[in-house]
Point group: C2
Chain length 221, copies 2
Amino acid sequence: MPGQQDKEPIVIPKPTLDRLKLYHRLLNEIEQKYISSDEIAQRVGTNAEQVRKDLTYLKTTGKPKVGYDVAQLRQELEELFGVKKTTKVILVGAGHLGSALVNYPGFANYGIEIVAVFDNDPRKIGMFIGELSILPMKDLARVIKRFRVEIGIICVPKDSAQQVADILVSNGIKGIWNFTPARLVVPDDVFVVDEDMSQSLLTLKHFLEMKKQKMQESQRG
Amino acid sequence: MPGQQDKEPIVIPKPTLDRLKLYHRLLNEIEQKYISSDEIAQRVGTNAEQVRKDLTYLKTTGKPKVGYDVAQLRQELEELFGVKKTTKVILVGAGHLGSALVNYPGFANYGIEIVAVFDNDPRKIGMFIGELSILPMKDLARVIKRFRVEIGIICVPKDSAQQVADILVSNGIKGIWNFTPARLVVPDDVFVVDEDMSQSLLTLKHFLEMKKQKMQESQRG
DNA sequence: TAGATTGTTAATCGATTAACAATC
DNA sequence: TAGATTGTTAATCGATTAACAATC
């Protein structure tokens, strides 16, 4: 294939990637055929220049005076994020949070299917969460192999998190979605996304602190 | 108070703020009396220069050859994030996720206390989640006033989210922790933290897509 | 054609990293 | 004192914004 040089490792910057997710969400909410960079910008709260810049990372190009083809853009973003490919996922930790996640209706929209739930509490084994029966940890290897699972969700108590991560990794899991506050140590080729709620909480509290300070200042001043 | 000019609106940049949270977490895990910028850096995965730069936003200063006073740093960060002040919070939406949050043991560590749970499903009213009885929405105003609540957690279905947000705002709530994928429209003085799980999920799926592509390329190349 | 909107280059901004003097 | 570590200034890097020619 001469001429065409298609071997550039185009890495999309993280901030851009985050905005692309917002665009993707927006595109799923609208019905029109075309949309301009300016309209996208207004609806997600950024500016048109940035939208256009971001979209240069995609193959889709817009038409002057018309805008971007919504369906095309949507499709390319779906491919980028792998939305359409169903990803099979297992979940470890059948507590309140685990149950909430198993029952979370939003996952289907993003091509996520939880195929099994594990727990190490013998009393929970065999109980059901939705349609899934809770399995003992010893079945983990078998299930991962059988369904070719690549992602594991951890929602166990903090102190067991690393141990569970080790087990997942040793069974070939390549992506971990960590709902505990533990910082997991994993090999380089395993990707961890932390869903650390206490951190969000600190953000919220910090904001309120700032606000109070400002009010006090303006009273003084 | 002449001489001293204490009226600078020092705004800590968001990236710095996020790292300060990591330092705070680290400081709670260690026992030594002093810690160097280099050690902090290594343990949270950044570099010493950045740690020192970040810490210039605080009052605490380090000692050459010794490092930073752990207790002092910890205390200042706790103040910054308002960890010690107990913040009373209400939660709307007594589903699986709501129950998980009410039972989440981590909140207490960060000075968060959920004082009431609301739902609009008449069948749920009066049922208990942990020690809290589920209240009808009509009690919301009273509870907010009585406990001087400033933060509301929303974990209702997406389509009701905006409506709930409006109710919270009109009752004086100043911070919203939003567990739905809805984008909330609120006045400028209300702060929203989105805990959008589908977004994290996209990050995870994107990573796996990239990884597969890379593997395919290296096979071809 | 005239006008709107894209795509891209250049300028700006802000955050990170490097370097080093100050100091315990 | 000598050496380690801080605090700060300057250089670098990367992302955002502005500007404008290309084009439908």
